[in-house]
């Protein structure tokens, strides 16, 4: 019994270390490709997600995609110059709520997936770069391909996505104007409250649909 437990622990630890090693050495374009392929393979086989089960899509995103996203960086970018006036607690709350909103939106987009093909463009970066853009294109019959780009930067534990651009539009900085409005109207706490309300509202519509 004890040996089995030791073995399991060793295996888990070994696996964990391997994952960590993989994440920190894998190139950014390879990382985006492997995560995308993983997610698409699952969505292709999952009838529940295809028929609009947001909860299941959120689960998938949380386990497969979240580890490679840097939400603190994303939130800082979305808030812009007002970020500096926020307290550490406010920053944490903003990051948490913004993360919930983005995960929900992205998961919903996944439920719309219908056999589109994703092309990965060759990475234009030098080995010493610490901030790169990985370019992809989503192709579907009868429509112009949609460009989807991922901005990543190098962290101690590997490359992390800090921005996603659809047709050249940053899904992160696209929030800056409305975040600025909220902060001018009700301060940082006002923005936190708006985000919380928005997330609650989205949660309620999902529950109502079920």
């Amino acid at each position: 019994m004890k040996t089995i437990r030791t073995l399991l622990a060793a295996l888990t630890l070994g696996f964990g270390l391997q994952c960590a090693a993989l994440a920190s050495t894998i190139a950014p374009d390879a990382l985006v490709k492997s995560v995308t392929d993983d997610v698409i393979t699952i969505v292709r086989q999952d009838k529940a997600i295809q028929s609009g089960d947001t909860r299941k899509a959120v689960e998938l995103v949380e386990t497969k995609v979240l580890p490679y996203f840097d939400f603190a960086h994303m939130t800082r970018l979305a808030v812009g110059k007002d970020w500096r006036q926020a307290t550490p607690e406010q920053k944490a709350a903003l990051t948490q709520e913004f993360k919930t909103l983005l995960v929900r939106t992205y998961s919903n987009a996944l439920t719309q997936y219908r056999n589109q093909v994703i092309d990965f463009k060759p990475l234009k970066a030098r080995p010493e770069d610490s901030d790169v853009i990985v370019r992809t294109e989503v192709r579907q019959p009868g429509a112009k391909p949609v460009q989807i780009d991922y901005a990543l930067d190098r962290k101690v534990d590997g490359w992390k996505v800090y921005d996603v651009l659809v047709a050249g539009v940053s899904l992160v900085t696209n929030y800056r104007d409305s975040f600025g409005q909220e902060i001018r109207a009700g301060g940082v706490d006002g923005l936190i409250k708006s985000l919380k309300d928005k997330n609650k509202h989205l949660e309620a519509t999902v529950s109502a649909r079920k």
Binding site: D70, A72, H73, R76, L77, V79, G80, K81, W83, R84, A86, T87, P88, K91, L101, R104, T105, N108, A109, Q112, E128, D129, S130, D131, I133, P141, G142, A143, K144, Q147, A167, G168, V169, S170, L171, T173, N174, Y175, R176, D177, S178, F179, G180, Q181, E182, R184, S194, L195, K198, L202
Partner: protein
């Protein structure tokens, strides 16, 4: 490059817009720290609200019905047909922008798709590796450095700006569908094109609605970035974001109030170290 009639139209429109802006500025209170690109925000928000209602009760239901009723091959054919018509003007605009190979490729697309592709119903050219482009007069003006002017929300058509509205007038003047003599055919084609266009946006629309805190501001920002990306053919200038100069470590420990500022100096030194490398 610019004809005098265009110039006079431009100055006329900008003069009336200026008058409008003045009137609105007088009526709207000056306290809101408005968006620098959106001096007409009160008017635009009113038009936006109107468009939302029109969309909710007419356009979206029609587009959804079209999406449900028309089989996929039909929808693909419709998209290809109008796409082929659009390729003519796209090619011309590529030439106007001095992009010779793209312009020739577009001409090749029209040639192949109009003949082998049965009047554009099939997009054979893409299969042959001739990539589809999207260009219009607004982009051509932007390419030659014409600024975008104030943001405008057009009735029914939605997000635009002064430059792109003028471009749109030009686009429509030469648009083959608008040249069709027979009114019934012209109207049906225009209607179908509009419904098809709206149907392609159904998924994106839902996403924007869910994502946005303020849909108006979200779509405005979207349009500004989207057009910049189109003008630069997918490679807009990517400046280091001025709001993004501090590093994770610096802002987590960084002083929220000046009183806690003792460790600031070494942290800034650490965080700014990788920057020169980034900005090359």
């Amino acid at each position: 490059m610019k004809s005098s009639s265009q110039n006079s139209r431009l100055s006329m429109t900008s003069r009336s817009l200026a008058a409008l802006a003045l009137a609105l500025g007088l009526s709207a209170c000056a306290s809101t720290g408005g968006h620098p690109k959106d001096p007409l925000e009160p008017l635009n928000r009113a038009t936006f609200a109107f468009n939302e209602k029109a969309d909710q009760y007419v356009m979206r239901p029609v587009a959804e019905a079209y999406d449900r009723v028309a089989p996929l091959p039909v929808k693909v054919g419709v998209g290809n047909f109008f796409g082929n018509i659009g390729d003519v003007w796209t090619g011309f605009n590529n030439l106007l922008q001095g992009k010779l190979s793209e312009g020739l490729s577009d001409a090749g697309r029209v040639l192949v798709n109009t003949t082998v592709g049965m009047l554009g119903l099939f997009d054979i050219a893409t299969e042959l590796g001739l990539e589809k482009h999207e260009e219009d007069l607004g982009q051509t003006l932007g390419w030659w450095g014409v600024g975008d002017g104030p943001y405008l929300v057009l009735p029914f058509l939605g997000a635009s700006n002064l430059r792109d509205t003028l471009g749109l007038v030009g686009d429509l003047t030469v648009d083959p569908v608008w040249q069709v003599e027979e009114v019934a055919t012209r109207n049906s084609l225009t209607g179908l094109r509009f419904v098809h266009k709206r149907h392609t946006l159904l998924g994106a629309e839902t996403a924007a609605e869910q994502a946005a805190l303020d849909k108006y501001a979200y779509l405005r920002s979207f349009y500004i970035q989207y057009r910049l990306n189109q003008i630069h053919d997918g490679n807009p200038p990517r400046l280091k974001d001025p709001e993004d100069e501090e590093d994770e470590e610096a802002h987590i420990e960084g002083p929220a109030s000046p009183l806690a500022g003792a460790p600031a100096e070494p942290l800034i030194a650490v965080s700014s170290a990788p920057n020169p490398e980034n900005q090359e």
